[in-house]
Amino acid sequence: MGKLYETLMLDVRFQEGLNACINCGTCTAICAAAEFYNYEPRSIVDTVQTKDDEKIIALLKSETIWYCGECMSCKTRCPRGNAPGLIIMALRSLSQDMGYFVESEKGRQQLALKRTIGAWILSTGYCVYLEGVGTDLHPEQGPIWDWKQKNWSKVFERLGANYRGNGPGILRKIPEETLDELREIFRITGGSQRFQQIEDCSKKKAQEMNLNLDDGIANEYFQHIYKYNSQTHYRDED
């Protein structure tokens, strides 16, 4: 048995997700990602089952593991109780732990997620905090979103929110002591280390790609990973 397979087996999601796949392809048939991307969850499970370190390393460096949307439709339908979605989550964790995620276009996007969702979690206590996030980044949100952004606190007040207020309620200010607890949980359970690993690996990759990367999102590397699509990921329609 390869060492990486042993490492994957330490992740309870991997143990829960893999119960001897029979390669029937049901997961691929139901998979929303397989319909859009050049992607087969069946093949991922097949590769992992070889327990071959070289093949697993190739997977960890690949685009493939980043195509899944984690809808978990595969878990419902697998006749053997496998969950390729959970296997993917274990692979993505390992890819980040080993620094391989920056070797793929889709993997590099982890920094964008860390600097948006991750930053919001630790600074506000919410996983999305959207005041000021406009239709320049989210054009699909439409003119109603522009109107809402323009009148943000008044709209929330109208709809019964306690916007940035003390006490309970919608989009209340989460107390600093609570945020300290959250940060301490991240510190002692590996969350902060994961964030640091994403930062460190991304900085090295940015240098290698000759792209500027400083704090925040207004830099070349962030804008590149957030917006760039090589258009090589899709299923051949023919």
């Binding site: 984690e70 996983c127 949980i185």
Partner: protein
Amino acid sequence: MKIEGKQALWKDYQKEIADDNYFYVRSCIRQSFFPGSETAFLNIMRQDLGKDVYEHPCHTTCTGIGYHSDIVPLETTMTVVARQFALMTEAGYKNYVPSCVTSFGLYTEILDIWHHFPETLAKTRENLKKATGREFQIPENLAHASDIIYKFRKEIAAKAKYKLINKSTNQPIKVVEHIGCHYSKMFPSKGVGGAEYPYVLVGMIEEWGGEVIDYPERRHCCGFGFRQYLVQANRGYSIACSHKKFESMQPFKPDLILTNCPGCPMFLDKWQYAIAEMEGKTYGENGQGIPVFTYEELAGLVLGYNPWDLGVQLHQVSCEPLLDKIGIPYDADKKYEGINGQKLGIPEMPLTLKCC
């Protein structure tokens, strides 16, 4: 009575839902996009149904969006969830009610992991104690907020001012329901009706007078896909999933799309706008879209709440065609007002999608 056939199958997918004294935790996405829905849920529970619902000011994100974007490790997420349970325990509650379906799925997943791998529960208790000094009990009852409205659907029907009936034709309003994937695809036994035939929204629609319309892609994901929407370069995945659903449901001419997940109504609403602007294609009547509602909004409407108190003016697809069909009155001049009638201007009109 002997229970067999479909009845026996259905029996496996009933779930116990507590009938009072709830510890409510909010959804990051629902608060941001549909604040009126959470306000309506609490008003319905407390004022219309007389229930005790407690909200702790110090609860936070469950980290679910970060966890499913794979930036937050499982051990971290389990400890944040444990902290939420600690707040419930400290407040003296046992019935845990998340507003978010991603959260609900995450709680069911973590409780399952703790059950199968007790050492992870022990480690989580240790981590939480070390980080915060807190201790927790596992909830006696875990139900999504839509489960609670489902449980009281008959009581709501009894107090309803409006039925889901088209007042012009006297026919039931035709509704397609969309269940958030993480409600029951991971753990079918934890959702009312399971994963293939979830009944949580169907029960509301039927009880309130509407007709549920089946269509081929009923169970397909709305396309959130976490990183597939959150990163701009990947959003083609998201719109493609919603597009597949719209194309599949359109021939059945639904009057309404009803959802139970915070993200799904936003995607199914906004992607209709994007498809209209990109391709000139619209899915509703007369160049409009198909209105998309949360279950709290629909419950509020049938109970006679002012539509603008529910926040349906924040949808990009206009809600008025549905209100008109049912005969729910509204004051168009007040649609975009703040409190005390403050005028906030009006949004621009999309180029293609017709809006009221």
